[in-house]
């Protein structure tokens, strides 16, 4: 639906267009924040805490988070675990397969900066070296509540998105900071 989003900002020139644009922004952002579909993609220990977050005690689905197995239908990618160099290419490929607007939550110390393996020869020191990251979640492994807090932080970021910013993509992506190696 890129066509819709591209030309939607043209209605601002119409009388009262600004108001219409603002309300459409809030509606789009409400829809995006209340149905965050993550990609079930666990690498290491943080994946087990992610599964615990989906389980019945910390039920993630209360917030509308519904895990999807295929990158085509996912909005968010939880990078949960250590990113090893052999795994870097598949992660970049999966990130490219996800439709716009896409977000990344780097979960756990290993995904943020390499964590306890900061001096290992086989680990990428942080997933933001290969894909742009929206929310960094510290902890090793972070508690399920912390993961929910990261999703809430991501939702706050989504609410700041505007259609005028181009394609309704995230403010980060709009600034073209996505340099993929």
């Amino acid at each position: 639906m890129g066509i819709v989003l591209d030309n939607l900002s043209k209605i601002e020139s119409l009388p009262g267009g600004g108001l219409a644009l603002a309300t459409s922004d809030s509606l789009i952002n409400w829809a995006r924040t209340s149905s965050v579909w993550p990609l079930t993609f666990g690498l290491a220990c943080c994946a087990i805490e992610m599964m615990a977050a989906y389980a019945s005690r910390f039920d993630f689905e209360r917030m509308g988070v519904f895990p999807r197995p295929t990158p085509r239908q996912a909005d968010v990618m939880f990078v949960a675990g250590t990113v090893s160099k052999k795994m870097a290419d598949p992660i970049i490929r999966i990130y490219k397969q996800m439709p716009e607007p896409k977000f990344v939550i780097a979960m756990g110390g290993c995904a943020n900066c390499g964590g306890p393996f900061y001096d290992s020869y086989a680990v990428v020191k942080g997933v933001d070296r290969i894909i742009p990251v929206d929310v960094y979640l510290p902890g090793c492994p972070p508690r399920p509540e912390a993961l929910m807090y990261a999703v809430i932080k991501l939702q706050e970021k989504m609410r700041k998105m505007t259609v005028k910013g181009g394609l309704g993509a995230t403010p980060l992506q709009a600034a073209g900071s996505r340099k993929l190696i």
Binding site: K85, K86, A88, Y118, D119, S120, Y121, A122, V124, K125, R129, I130, I181
Partner: protein
């Protein structure tokens, strides 16, 4: 049938087999010459029913760690060891641990091979299938060749990995991710 009786029986046909002086604690440890590793294991398996291969691993005894092997300097000075020359020998030591499930006996065999490029040990692929991946891992980490292994290639590290990481003198060449 204690470990020593088995050792005595085997020493008749393998003169090189000798009780090693630095044993693995609580395990009868023998030193085997490199070329007769496979034959000894066949004999152990057929005659003395040592049918379960626990561990195949190796150690590089060539002195303390080279700090350049780590992309960033680790927290503790790498290899804050005793006098470096005390234990340094220019050898690879390949260690096998084998168990007899029926009698519950455990045995450790180790063999020392010189630390040059063509260092190789006969593979146990045919006798124990467990050796398949463990030997590939030892090759991946140390560069020790196992003759007779059908597909001896890297198993854990990337194809584009230069050098063998667990060697003490391994230097890490920064790639696009560092």
């Amino acid at each position: 049938m204690t470990a020593d009786e088995i050792l005595a029986k085997l020493q008749a046909s393998f003169p090189g087999l000798v009780k090693s002086e630095a044993p693995v604690k609580e395990y009868p440890t023998w030193t085997v010459p490199a070329e007769s590793v496979r034959v000894v294991f066949e004999r152990l398996r057929s005659k003395f029913s040592f049918d379960y291969l626990d561990v195949v691993t190796a150690t590089d005894w060539s002195g303390p760690i080279n700090p350049k092997g780590y992309p960033q300097s680790p927290a503790v000075a790498a290899g804050a060891a005793a006098a470096p020359s005390a234990t340094a020998k220019d050898i690879f030591e390949v260690v096998y641990l084998v168990t007899a499930l029926s009698t519950g006996m455990r045995l450790c065999l180790r063999c020392e091979i010189p630390r040059k490029e063509g260092a190789s040990v006969p593979s146990l692929y045919g006798i124990f299938m467990a050796a398949d991946w463990q030997e590939r891992e030892v090759y991946d980490m140390f560069g020790i060749h196992f003759e007779g292994h059908p597909n001896l290639k890297r198993i854990l590290t990337m194809e584009t990995q230069q050098g063998y990481p667990l060697r003490k003198d391994y230097e890490h060449l920064p790639d696009k991710f560092d």
